[in-house]
Symmetry: D2
Subunit: 307 residues, 4 copies
């Protein structure tokens, strides 16, 4: 079967956290239960591995391979899509990870813009992405757009211009930006086999109105079931219900942000909510106190009592 | 009648341009036809006068009074709401304009955050707004939030906390920002007599999904009828139709932005599309060439052939 | 005498605070003693009136005139240069103030870039400045560059290109920016009758090395005598001594910044150190507590015991 | 001998470019001649390897080791200091490179702040640096501060607080920032065995006035001899001469910036001026045209005819 002939990436995709043991080394034993938790408790059937949530930039290339391999192996036959993020500051490293992703049977790869040296135009970024995609031509390729972190504000719509000619495996974008005009113009230009997944969980309903095909984010790890309800309600035309869920979710995030809500807190929150032992983050992300995460978890349970 | 008992501000509100003659002085003769144009050709029945689009910060206090007076007088009995923006860098000037707005029978006033000296917290901003509102207590009061221009990123939701206690005339917000979580949390906290009007025309559909009560913007001057259709379609549950209109509108703006699209271009575009003689902008906004505006107008007519 | 034939503006220039009474109205009675204090206690013989430190953007045009008039009248025969800042968001207001400054016998005017609408190029900014300068052609004209506040990052060197042709009264720049390459290129391009005054007091020694002709700042109100010593030491080639003074001054500012150091604190600090009753700032600048200012004043006296 | 007892790092340090062959692979054959060129033609006797100029973030860990090893081996006995930059996004990678640098006999290591995940305080950054330094305790350790690229604006002075207690091998900072108050406060707090090297070549004279112990930068590759003259003049008290050289150097950079001056241009300029074949940069940095670099080289030769 042509791997590029797979069905489109849609619905909710969890951006997975990377389990570490208390010593800060990767802890593969959590991955199996993690996958089951997402499927059974959250109704989430696709994952985005080694992304920002997964602290990929704090991992070595070898660690990323080990993780990618384990996630793919254990998700096989259980999940719809396992997308491996292979973006690095170094093109060489990205290519090595892309080749590896193809070898281990990933369902797709994603690449963020390099952010230390920033591409000065859409054309340069497209060329960079092309160099990565070309070493794994049989894998569906996604661009990962997150300008607030990378500082790379290239319009995605400009990046898309004739992209299928230089990246035949191009299949879509994880769009984690607030420029919904750019997002809309991408959707307006989209092709049938492309997917545009929104990445700012706190305003998913807005992206759905614009036509998003799905969503990738970290909160889908622990409130995926609720956000699935939001999507269902929206699709049925029950905007009011979808909005109610979105507002509750925003209330959760607002509460967390007032307390302090970085990746370390987010990871600890997932441990507390799911019962999985994800362990600490890695420096320069700092571990948060138990009380801090528990307080947010309590708010979550009050807002979404089914948890 | 209690002026505060008026019906809520909803639907489309045009942020009006300020007509100048070729010598750069205000040209009141255009205002009557301008009002008729908005009502008859665009179906727009409310206006936001002396805002950013109206170049208020480039006008003297006297000029702002003259304009406010003329817009109110000529719109009387024709339009639903005439909101006068009275925000200035100086609290004194804002108060003078607020008192004047009450005298001339405006339907409400709006105030932007001062941006030269920036309020360092929601509390300071609320106090500033209170000082303005208190001199015109009978006028519905709106906060005008536009962080990309003011650099004041106070969360509007924080500003709203108990705002009715210090500003009893508070009636809503013109929200020209991309933080839709903040917007959503405002709507979630809203009271029946409050209105939240969205101000980034290019992503109105996203704000409608979040629950926006209406919209204020400059494009409603010349594509108000189309954007009214967008709102109608959305309200009827025809998201696909609303989206199609939004995408066309985005295509127009994308085209304009590639050419260059600042307030000077926007004003000239309105002159070309409407046939009204709005004249040049005032320095430091520069006048654009005729060809530049004509090229955008042509694109507009191709996208929205009814014009 | 040709007013433009005056001697160059050099040395230290105090950016004056605006005295207000407890009710927040301007308090002219402090101005006479303030001038004497600067001359006698600080050895500062030039002033920059109605600038950022003077909260000009929070004053009405009438208030600015009243203040300008009083400062000029009372400084006459006592001070070397009284420069009136006439920059406003509105060109009209700036012109009105420039004409007024000429009438009251100011020694020069200065203009900041408008910052609500930002000039999109050096050429547009030059044209704006020209429009102001042209209504007061007999007054030495200075551009006031402070990009951290205005957000206008036009290179001053670009602005200077042929500026004497469009602004014959051009005499220099108050350069409150950290781009010392731009500053150096201005000095390299400078003409004999031009003055480049540096405006970041905390790194004055760096600007002197680059060739600054003087300095304008708020700290010269209360540590002018020390900073005069710094300049003298530098001019005599005693860099080590100049550096020691600069380091002490930086220690003062660092201390203040850790406590919180905005314009409200700065104004209160001046009241405490000088004994002058400058009163509160005006909203949106907030008044600071007495303890806050006293704590900084104590640090100042420990670092500079002569006070 | 205690490697930490070496003499302080002072004077000019060239931040080296990484030689690549036309296929984009590292080209060690250029390194020997490169070292000779720096010593003989530029009078530069220390190097900063694998920094920003060296495109380290675009290299794999293995490539960085190969380069570090070759630079150390070939500079041995010829140069005063070979500092290997070992900073990476991943702490693991940085530690691996630090251990390697100790094995190959580097004279010191430097570490930039991670910039994808940004340390949220001076304390977190200090802890990150400590984790790297601790695996190579015998190597002089330098922090590399370049906030315009990393977006990490931690005050260096805050970072220094008691740093010798957690990083006994701490020896100084490459300070590539424009906050000269922070720089001054670092120098004021400095200890005898510490060195503060300034990294914005275009305003070196300002940093010398503040007390800089030396400088690290990319332009010292090709105008090191001139900048050595600048330093000599400054040290002899001939500020005017130092300034003249600085102004010419700024004129060169201004000229280059108008044409476009990123790392790709800079690298090509070095090839043209030195005659060394440094090859292309690596994506996402783009190669510049020959004409572009030649035009800048011509300007350089006109300004500094000795080349």
């Amino acid at each position: 079967m042509d791997p590029l002939a797979v069905k489109n990436l849609t619905g909710l995709v969890a951006a997975t956290f990377t389990p570490l043991n208390p010593q800060g080394e990767i802890n593969l034993s959590v991955i199996g239960p993690y996958i089951d938790y997402l499927i059974e408790k959250q109704g989430v059937n696709s994952i985005f591995v080694n992304g920002t949530t997964g602290e990929s930039m704090s991992l070595s290339v070898e660690e990323r391979k080990t993780l990618a391999n384990d996630w793919c192996k254990k998700a096989k036959g259980k999940m719809d899509h396992v997308i491996i993020h292979v973006g690095c500051m170094s093109l060489k490293d990205s290519q090595e990870l892309a080749i590896h992703a193809a070898q281990i049977g990933a369902d797709g790869i994603a690449v963020i813009s390099p952010s230390f040296f920033k591409p000065r135009s859409a054309e340069v970024l497209r060329t960079f992405l092309q160099e990565v995609a070309s070493v794994a031509p049989s894998l569906p390729f996604y661009y990962y757009h997150i300008p607030a972190i990378t500082g790379v504000n290239v319009l995605v719509r400009d990046l898309l211009e004739d992209i299928e000619k230089v990246i035949p495996s191009f299949r879509g974008v994880k769009f984690s930006g607030s420029d919904l005009m750019d997002f809309g113009q991408c959707l307006s230009y989209s092709q049938p086999q492309w997917s545009f997944l929104y990445g700012m969980d706190e305003q998913l309903i807005a992206a759905l109105a614009m036509g998003a095909n799905g969503a990738v984010g970290s909160t889908y790890n622990y409130i995926g079931s609720n956000m699935n309800e939001l999507i269902s309600a929206f699709e049925k035309g029950d905007i009011a219900k979808a909005r109610t869920i979105q507002f509750k979710m925003q209330e959760l995030l607002s509460f967390a942000m007032k307390l302090g809500f970085d990746l370390g807190v987010n990871k600890q929150l997932m441990s507390v909510v799911s019962g999985l032992c994800l362990g600490p983050p890695r420096l320069p992300v700092m571990q948060c106190s138990d009380a801090h995460a528990l307080s947010i978890a309590e708010k979550l349970r009050r807002l979404f009592p089914e948890h």
